[in-house]
Symmetry: D2
Subunit: 458 residues, 4 copies
Amino acid sequence: MFFERIKSEGLAHNSYIIGSRGEAVVIDPRRDCQVYVHTARRNGLKIKRIFETHRNEDYVAGSVELNVAVGAEVYHGPGLKWQYGTTLQDGQEFGIGDLRLTAIHTPGHTDESMTYALVDSASGAATVMVFAGDALFVDEVGRTDLQGPEQAKRLASALYQSIHQRILPLGDGAILCPGHGGGSVCGSHISDRDESSLGIERAQNPVLQLTKKEFLRHKTLERLETPPYFTQMEKYNLEGPPLLGHRPAPPGLTPRQFRDEMARGAVVIDTRRPAEFCGAHISGSYAIWLDGLPAFAGWVLGYEKAVLLVLEDESLLDTAVRRLFRLGYDRTAGYLGGGIEGWYNSGFLIEDLAPLSVHDLKAKLDRKEQLTVLDVRGGDEWNRGHIDCSLNVYVGHLEQSLSRAPRDKPVAVLCSVGNRAGLGASILLRAGYPKVYNVLGSMTAWRAAGFPVSTETT
Amino acid sequence: MFFERIKSEGLAHNSYIIGSRGEAVVIDPRRDCQVYVHTARRNGLKIKRIFETHRNEDYVAGSVELNVAVGAEVYHGPGLKWQYGTTLQDGQEFGIGDLRLTAIHTPGHTDESMTYALVDSASGAATVMVFAGDALFVDEVGRTDLQGPEQAKRLASALYQSIHQRILPLGDGAILCPGHGGGSVCGSHISDRDESSLGIERAQNPVLQLTKKEFLRHKTLERLETPPYFTQMEKYNLEGPPLLGHRPAPPGLTPRQFRDEMARGAVVIDTRRPAEFCGAHISGSYAIWLDGLPAFAGWVLGYEKAVLLVLEDESLLDTAVRRLFRLGYDRTAGYLGGGIEGWYNSGFLIEDLAPLSVHDLKAKLDRKEQLTVLDVRGGDEWNRGHIDCSLNVYVGHLEQSLSRAPRDKPVAVLCSVGNRAGLGASILLRAGYPKVYNVLGSMTAWRAAGFPVSTETT
Amino acid sequence: MFFERIKSEGLAHNSYIIGSRGEAVVIDPRRDCQVYVHTARRNGLKIKRIFETHRNEDYVAGSVELNVAVGAEVYHGPGLKWQYGTTLQDGQEFGIGDLRLTAIHTPGHTDESMTYALVDSASGAATVMVFAGDALFVDEVGRTDLQGPEQAKRLASALYQSIHQRILPLGDGAILCPGHGGGSVCGSHISDRDESSLGIERAQNPVLQLTKKEFLRHKTLERLETPPYFTQMEKYNLEGPPLLGHRPAPPGLTPRQFRDEMARGAVVIDTRRPAEFCGAHISGSYAIWLDGLPAFAGWVLGYEKAVLLVLEDESLLDTAVRRLFRLGYDRTAGYLGGGIEGWYNSGFLIEDLAPLSVHDLKAKLDRKEQLTVLDVRGGDEWNRGHIDCSLNVYVGHLEQSLSRAPRDKPVAVLCSVGNRAGLGASILLRAGYPKVYNVLGSMTAWRAAGFPVSTETT
Amino acid sequence: MFFERIKSEGLAHNSYIIGSRGEAVVIDPRRDCQVYVHTARRNGLKIKRIFETHRNEDYVAGSVELNVAVGAEVYHGPGLKWQYGTTLQDGQEFGIGDLRLTAIHTPGHTDESMTYALVDSASGAATVMVFAGDALFVDEVGRTDLQGPEQAKRLASALYQSIHQRILPLGDGAILCPGHGGGSVCGSHISDRDESSLGIERAQNPVLQLTKKEFLRHKTLERLETPPYFTQMEKYNLEGPPLLGHRPAPPGLTPRQFRDEMARGAVVIDTRRPAEFCGAHISGSYAIWLDGLPAFAGWVLGYEKAVLLVLEDESLLDTAVRRLFRLGYDRTAGYLGGGIEGWYNSGFLIEDLAPLSVHDLKAKLDRKEQLTVLDVRGGDEWNRGHIDCSLNVYVGHLEQSLSRAPRDKPVAVLCSVGNRAGLGASILLRAGYPKVYNVLGSMTAWRAAGFPVSTETT
């Protein structure tokens, strides 16, 4: 038996390829699907079928793309008006060489969610692996809030049933293969450990220790962020997203060409790290560090404008472009050839954004300087410890909540280490705030320096 | 938590690297240990400790090598006079960031065998993974015959206790990480599936379904091959093997230099595939296809002579050399630069070895031509189906059993597909048999062609 | 200044990319043109123009492909009805950053042939490099026979003028960048050294030492092979060849699928080396070793049938496919997944082709066995030394000249080392010759073994 | 014939490997010499000899290292007390397959300098290539000032003779292969074009247009920088440098370990780009961007202290370490694991260095703010155009000339683009200057912005 987990960083999205005796299936492929084609070829396998666990909402599904590339049939769960692929029935079975895969309807995260149970007939009848999509994660369960608060309770109830009645009975020994790992926006407390089994989850997943009543209460009170791009993903994944095909890489633009594209309305994303963005950057750009693209581009980017990239290094272009088109941002118009150095060497303007160390921040606060400390972490994080006088606005909501941050005094933006603070600072600069700081190291450095942390909540 | 299984092909040997919060441990490293160093570095981890599950007998342990490279301490089980590392006590615990590893003494395969149980304290107290070495495999258990038939029953009894009293109680959900995968000589029926858990094994591992009495009977009757190089491995792994360090790659030799090295006593291994060996080869060489090196070199090679390699392609040199030094064969004197073409272009002699298709073999048998059909597979394989008139001598024993194969008529050598048959044929040619065939495709092709198969055993 | 020669192996075709201050031009690109795109990007260059030295006849020009990829304009010489690109005028100049490129009309090899002279204005006015296409090679000059014997003299006269009046006067110091290197079919005695200058050629190129009269005589008597695929190349390169775009790699086929494709008329090319082909091969296949594809596929393959590949290793697929589509063979239907082993393991028939060492050949000849010795090298090579009794038919003509080789006795095929002999042998086998040998090592081994060589010509 | 130029970036050092018929020689190898070993192997060549053009002073010669790796003999020019290798006689010849290499004594740059002339006997007697070491470059000739001003005239005279009497007569067509390309400190005006010939140099190398008298005057007046590390190189290259062998890569250190090493006296080099260094850096570090290491590390680093690295990315470690050990800095103690983010996340102090745009600099100057504009380019560059009020101190001399830059007002450091300015700024910060700016884009941006440039010299 061949098995490989293919992880898309940033999204913490897991897809899987499983094979036996020359045949393979892929579960929840991503859009840049050559990785499956190559993995299959290298291992002497032919991809026969593609299974989706549900209509994913956080990335563009790669099923259609992979279907075109290898001609394998796509399968989904029941209840949606899919415009591609084949709808499964609960209990439907498929052979893959020695393996047998059973499709199990497990609504909850969404109504059409499926779980796939795998048996290795060469060894016996035990369920060896369970592909649970967004129903069950390591230390967490799926969200039930995406169809709105009015549906949350109904879905939570369905999820409870699905997990306890349909998934856990597959056996403690079954290895759990969830749709996401730690860091995903699809679950707030997913472990950073990828290896688990139903038995381990039954024993120690905190949400599985709850009674049904507690579970429903927990899920209906749960507050998770929903980036606006999810809407586009749901549409794409229902209708079948546009094909990527063979897309020429976005060109390197001269500073002049880059500036002209900006003038035509393109949006600049600066993918460098926060200290580099402080060092020098182009006025008007969003600062989204490379590893933050999957999680944060979807908060600030719309689908109508072209995107321009500033990169630390040209070799990162492919990574940046992939991370964008996995979210459906297919219109990357180019990148700044020669990097930020090329820009300022051309005599073009660069904008100031002063870095601030936590020591300097502390000194400013001690001196009672006029200063807004803006903490752009999530509410949960803020509640677990923050600087006493800080104002909390989640970075994803900042652009819509600028009225909360006064413009008439300097703003020191912080988060956990300074990455999201960089994005926050760039949003303020775009909005014309006259004096903005990025607190490098942010709360991590603040704590490490031994400065006081408040847990008082508002 | 970081986890990666590092597999050494051919040996089907599994080693593991596990990490958390910047720290890592390695379990059962192989001798070419840069893979651990690089994996650790790439993931921001520092290797702190090295654990051995037992004194391995089928490969040179890499603990000393890795210890020198990264300065991590080596740990072993109790009861042997180890000349390096630290001896563990049953129940000893180690922290690795958020992880906790407990050493459990599980004698049986050998007296000092250890199992390591891993808990992820960030999630709870359940055993998440079990590193069982050669005690428990997927669908199989460890050998108990290596210390001789007189010890087999005692060890089998210990193994039964270790598995049932110490390992299985760690919980059905615990993921099993064994010392070998399918294809290893350390267990005859290991599954080709690498993913399993204690629960799956408890449910369907055939040997775990036996009563203690049945288990003891099964283990004492079991017949497994023990290649002669095991003796050297046991010595090395007790005393600490010689360090590899930075070894210059063996040089490409001209045909003339190669012939001179042969004249000085070096042994030639031709690592090409059987049809290529049939096409042209050097008289006196052993035919051991590249993927067969780990399992078969140890049957025919001693430690006193230098080794010369014939390669399909120079880019395979590194792979061949690694596979040899993993078995302690450190004296590779060079390879035939320019390949077999260079040899015959120099006007040097090439030896005949006719390929024989199963169709031609069938025709010869039907015509009742004088012909020995020599089947060099293992006895078990032969028992499961063979050509009626065939003589069975396991390829590993052939060189010592030549008296069984008459020299006065042609010999058609076969195995399952023709690889081991190639080695068998080369042994006969070295021994001066005048007419030898390699039956390409061997029993696989014979069956595929629909020819009769006998299961009558002797 | 940036300069790189990009060589297509087998064709010994040279293309060039030159750049300065962010701009680049490409001369004579090949069809798989990503190499130029990547080279340009890696060096911060934008490809602005594409220059062709002439309508190439031995490969599919990549100008149109590269034009589509990067939007650069294509330029050709005058006098042909080009269906794409822009026609140059003699003396036209182009700037590339600090560089200046002058187009010089140098008819001879063909009527529209151009030479490009490069000056580095940052240093001075001397011609630094000369891109001479197929007018002038290292130690050789271009062919003048491709438009038929009736045109040869006129073209030779033009070539003499072009070289002596237009190219050599550019200065002894000018570095020569020709369209082909050693091994090309576009010149019979091109040196295997790629580095030269006009001064070196003037001093020691043997053809440049001739008087005009001698030159004309030499060129009109010259006998070079013209593979039939040249016709298709000329058509493609005049009209603009079909675009490759993003072509999915041909799939690995199971032995059964492969056999079915053969039944539907696909032609099998076995790209393995001759000894491997002897070891086992599929009946009906052409043996063209991988490095021989560019030079020999065009002799036996037509454009109407699909091609199937047998590979030594799957990793060679891309190389094989590229070498075919560079000749316009775009219909590779697949390759034999699992290799020849997979074929014979399936119980499918393999065909015999016995290898013959030169020692055995000598013995057969000494014993006066019935045997045709068929030497498939070119006439020139044969004239320089052959086995006394051998019959010479060039491998490219063999399929059309089978009447010259008797079928009623064994045929031992040889060439210089056994590669072309493999193709020759496969042609005989396809034609039903009952007993064929490939003389491994061929004349090289024969000479190395000290056997007698005749230089008597017919 | 095989030929490859192997270039060491930053040093702009050229080494060469040449081969024919299985044999190869290497000219002026660098210390990390695996590149020659691999190139030779990949092309079926055996390195037989190593030739040095002279005792190099700008990098550690790799001859001894390569000698140990492949066993090839090392050859030098006459007149020095070499402690390794064999001394050549003028006119000594060597065969390399079809090639013939003649050693020609060409003193001037140094007394023992050699030029090697290559003939391809397969083609004729013309000199095909000339390996001129540091005698003759493209557009420039070698330095004659390294043995002190009192020797300069004598050496210049010798160089004139060597070039005009011994090198140029080898023929206009001979391709020039010099020891350095553009950007080297071994010649002030070497072209960035690598391709040339003796004929091109004769025609347009400006120094070759001079009469002997003009030449001597030019060479004795010439002012070139001589970094202090040259002394160590000369010693190493005379005596034979220490062997690198297999050196474990420097470890990634935690911020705490890094700080401890600093406390023990290790010197920090921050290899990131200037804007990044402005964004955040460790107090006390030298800012030498990665591509500047070869040219600038030797100005500020001694040989007695260990080196610590700050990297933009861990993948650059190998490049940085190589660039250091090519200059003999073998004591790299580690790099900052986790990068600068790890440092400030640990709550450790970061130092301020404000970036300054040319627009802001202009505004400050227009406002007549108190400010020293410190231009750290070479005197030649400064003479060709500078900001009116600027003070010129070459970056290499800055640490020894701090008295020239007042401490009591802010200093804005600039160079051509901001790289050397970064190093200059870091030197000032180390020396305790209270307020320092790096002018990003420096003179390039200043000119691009259209601001006034003065060419008045002092």
